[in-house]
Amino acid sequence: MKRTVLPMGPQHPVLPEPLVLDLVLVDEKVVDAVPTIGYIHRGLEALVEKIEYTEMGYVAERICGICSFMHGMGYCAAVEDVMAVEVPERARWLRVIWAELSRIQSHLLWLGLGADAFGFENLFMHCWRMREEILDIFERTTGGRVIFSVNLIGGVRRDIDDDELLVIVEKLQELGTAFEETTRVFATDPSIRHRIEGIGVLSADDARAVDVVGPMARASGLAQDVRSTGTHLYDRLDFTPVVEEAGDCLARVLVRVREVTQSIDLIRQAVARMPKGDGQAISVNVRGRPSGETFMRLEQPRGEVVYYLRANGTKMLERFRIRTPTFANVPAMITLVKGCDLADVPNIILTIDPCISCMER
């Protein structure tokens, strides 16, 4: 049978970022896929050797526009770990709240993009409208909609009033109620089921074999979530990872849908359990230069991210390496694309929630 090689990307309607996938087709079936990356590599690991460790946090925030808070938080937490800085408790809770808000906005953005990929434009607009409300909360509390600059080494730069926190929780509860309708659409709409159910199935064994992380792993039945290790105060919240068993595109959509509701609940719990803000410190002064090495793990919206940081007592870090969730999930994407129909490729690529900016750094 004659083989055809079809280049997909770097510009493609379903890809928000540049990725090239050379699809080898036999008729309409994909038999092989060769990814090419490197279009937006920015040399972060070389840059870290040239700028001071206090300035690197702002660069880390700009790795990706969706996980910007989480990258800033991960970097600051890694430096704090190396320098043995005790971060004030309120600051740690505020980080949890902003991190979960990031997860909600990231998932809503992705659900919109997913809906766009399977041709449900109306649902796409609807998800993005809801996301705007989260961005408004970010704007009021941090002063920015995409880049927040609230993370400091030693705490956070801005506090949120207790009254404001209650307003945020109330707003999120309203959003949660409105989101129930959207949840029903994703779970029951026959056109969505018809389009993505049973497509791109990744079994639990395969998921384990290619080491997938995040919602991708949880959709294949692996209850794998860094938050369940209890770091970053998650041990004080009632948290059970959202797990779906089917492993197909629909399961990956449903995991993210359910995680939006879960994050709203986590924020409610965090606000109830955090110390009141009457004059509490939100940051500590950090002096000196870091020395030592650490691994820091976080659960980003797309999955587990690992920061490796090594410092040698100078102003510049010696090494700062990030293993982002997309980097871990790309092998699974290639596995899934092989054997599927050409028309299903966009949906499969999107359901891993690829973030090429994160992957290439």
Binding site: T54, Y58, H126, R140, G143, G144, R158, V185, T188, P190
Partner: protein, 144 residues
């Protein structure tokens, strides 16, 4: 045929048809800035002592301060409004403004060492020289 009850988005879509739009008619309708928005850095020439701590801390090197010439310049195209300079300023001469800057790039030559779109302030000469060392250096330069 699929029943309408089985299409859960239909009800929402019909509601959307008769509800207010979520978007604005920009630019005729501009949203007022939110309280605490990180729009731009506002500088107060009256209180600045030109110590240069803000410029030293700035992660993007957007600030240029000269103690000798008593000048303060900010490159709006470089500034990321992170707020580090505001935290660093002991004189409270820098504040975060919620107005986003309208950066004016003209053909004029930017101040030395800075890029286009730079706002420059020139302070008055101090009653006394800021540092005895600086005055001495100037004197030596004049003599030679």
């Amino acid at each position: 045929m699929i029943e309408l009850a089985k299409l859960p988005m239909v009800r929402r879509s019909l509601r959307n048809l008769f509800s207010r739009p979520a978007t604005r008619r920009y630019p005729t309708e501009v949203r007022p800035p939110v309280d605490g928005l990180r729009g731009s850095i506002r500088f107060d020439l009256e209180v600045c002592n030109f110590c240069g701590l803000c410029a030293k801390r700035c992660p993007t090197l957007a600030l240029h301060v000269s103690r000798e010439e008593r000048t303060f310049a900010i490159e709006d195209l470089r500034c990321i409004t992170c707020g580090v300079c505001i935290d660093a300023c002991k004189q409270h001469g820098l504040v975060m403004s919620d107005s986003t800057p309208r950066v004016l790039v003209t053909g004029a030559e930017p101040p030395e060492g800075s890029g286009p779109g730079t706002r420059l302030w020139q302070g008055e000469a101090p009653a006394r020289p800021a540092r005895a060392g600086a005055a001495r250096a100037r004197k030596v330069a004049e003599e030679t």
